[in-house]
């Protein structure tokens, strides 16, 4: 599903590289943690995968497509099959939960009744179907992240990218969130989760790709 060949990323010409010579494969349906200390390059790696940044060197294949050779007009298409979740949720505060989750479907030009159906199902999956007309700021942090996850999953993505999704949340809520990622993974979505939360990895052991200073230092499955 995801395949990296000798991927390097330098943000500035002569700065230290944020990623250095990465090679790995992630199969369809995998659940993979990306770990490493702050500044290791976790976010950079995810950005390359949703084309917010381009690698300085190397090739990246996603679902059989070489996204490093792809023109920028194909980026939207790639992102429609990719769900993205951030530490700071990135919800629109002036829109209801329903409107927030409907957003990716509207962008894709889906029909109205199809949108309402899917949005309701997605919010039901994360247990928030009772709060369709609430606004994000009326919710707790954990609930907001669940909305963000519903928004990422509403399009039935092939890949789910999460950049420290539980960074702002306490342990109890973290466990709920992880449960959601596992459910999505069970339905066939490939999940990449960047975190430095060792507790989480200990409780739900999965394959771990560890980075340090932009280099792959460990790649181990339980």
């Amino acid at each position: 599903m995801i395949h990296l060949y000798n991927v390097c990323k330098n943000y500035q010409k002569d700065a230290a590289s944020a990623l250095h010579n990465l090679n790995f494969k992630i199969a369809k349906g995998d659940f993979v943690y990306i770990t490493g200390p702050s500044g290791a390059g976790k976010s950079t790696l995810l950005k390359l995968l949703y084309c917010a940044e381009k690698p300085s060197r190397g090739q990246i294949l996603v679902n059989g497509k070489n996204i490093t050779r792809m023109g920028s007009s194909h980026i939207p298409q790639l992102r429609r099959h990719t769900g993205i979740v951030f530490q700071d949720f990135k919800l629109l505060d002036n829109r209801t939960l329903f409107e927030n989750v409907a957003f990716p479907l509207e962008v894709q030009g889906k029909k109205r009744f199809e949108i309402s159906n899917k949005v309701y199902q997605a919010l039901k999956h994360v247990g928030l179907h009772g709060k369709l007309q609430k606004y994000p700021l009326q919710l707790s942090g954990g609930e907001q992240q669940r909305v963000a996850i519903a928004r990422a999953l509403v399009v039935d993505p092939l890949i789910l990218l999460a950049d420290e999704p539980t960074g702002n949340l306490d342990l109890e809520v973290t466990l709920e969130i992880i449960e959601l990622f596992k459910k999505a993974n069970a339905r066939g979505t490939t999940v990449l989760l960047a975190t430095h939360d060792q507790e989480m990895i200990r409780r739900f052991p999965r394959r771990v790709i560890a980075l340090e200073n932009g280099q792959l230092v460990n790649d181990s499955a339980p």
Binding site: S72, S73, P76, R79, K90, Q108, R112, V155
Partner: protein, 298 residues
């Protein structure tokens, strides 16, 4: 298709509802700039049409030493009418010259009490074909007429009209320069207001791009909003300049150009009104294109 159109307009109106102040600022800028523009255009257009009207009246008047016999008159007329420049020849005898003079004096016509028709000369009024209504052609014709010694004096000058047209040229040039300056200033302000609205909505733009919106999908509502603001501003400018025209400019121009009655002073015709609205729309569109270029990158 209809669904998408409705969705598009919902997005546009949501944007406008979310930043009404910025939106009105953009509309107001367009309105003010275009009102000033329309105001000066009206002045130029009216002076110009009046000047055109005056130059239509260019004709040669040949004054006669004495009234000719009908036979000679016919001979002269035929000769003059045969000239390629000449449209028509009209004979004004002394009686008629006096009658005209009296009517021009109006209530002061009793000044002429006791004078006979002989105080005014008879004349031939020679009007020129349209393409010859200028100074050179008039001079050519007069040159030929001078060979007849009985035609004593000619009047075709309209010197002042030519000077006036030079002045008009200057006025037109000034209006064009001012217009460009105004449009640029308006464009700058509109682009910056739209940039502010984009800045206020940068989260939304970012998320749209992240969930796979194409650049066009992101941009179109903003372009539409810009065009709408431009159109609205142009309509306000149209109303504003019509009000200025009715209550102020018409009387001013009547006084300045000393025309009788206000009928010759006109407002913008419908093509010019369309042009004004088109300019407003273009202003809003270009303004949004300029600011979107910096904001929407994928």
């Amino acid at each position: 298709m209809l669904d998408q159109l409705i969705y598009l307009f919902r997005r546009v109106f949501r944007n406008i509802r979310q930043s009404p102040v910025l939106c009105s600022a953009a509309v107001g800028t367009v309105a003010v700039a275009l009102t000033i523009l329309a105001f000066f255009s009206l002045i130029v257009i009216n002076i110009q049409s009046l000047a055109a009207h005056w130059s239509e009246e260019i004709q040669i008047v040949a004054y006669l030493e004495r009234e000719p016999s009908p036979a000679r008159l016919k001979q002269w007329r035929d000769g003059i009418e045969a000239m390629p420049e000449v449209a028509a020849v009209r004979y004004v005898n002394q009686q008629e010259a006096l009658r005209r003079f009296k009517s021009r004096l109006g209530s002061d016509s009793d000044l002429l009490e006791g004078f006979g028709a002989e105080i005014l000369p008879a004349s031939l009024e020679i009007s020129l074909r349209e393409q010859y209504r200028n100074r050179e052609s008039a001079e050519t014709v007069v040159g030929r007429l001078r060979q007849n010694p009985e035609l004593a004096e000619f009047n075709y000058g309209q010197d002042w009209l030519e000077r006036f047209e030079a002045f008009l040229e200057l006025l037109r040039f000034g209006a064009v320069v001012l217009g460009f300056f105004l449009l640029f200033a308006a464009l700058f302000i509109v682009a910056n207001t739209i940039k502010l609205t984009l800045y206020a909505r940068r989260d939304e733009l970012e998320i749209m791009a992240l969930v796979g919106a194409t650049p066009w999908f992101i941009k179109v509502p903003f372009l539409l909003e810009g065009a709408l603001q431009g159109a609205l501003g142009a309509f306000l400018a149209l109303g504003g300049s019509l009000a200025l025209f009715q209550f102020f400019l018409r009387q001013g121009l009547v006084a300045l150009l000393s025309v009788t009655g206000g009928d010759q002073i006109v407002f913008l015709d419908w093509q010019q009104q369309l042009l004004l609205i088109g300019t407003g729309i273009l202003l809003g569109l270009v303004g949004s294109v300029l600011s979107l270029r910096k904001f929407v990158r994928i």
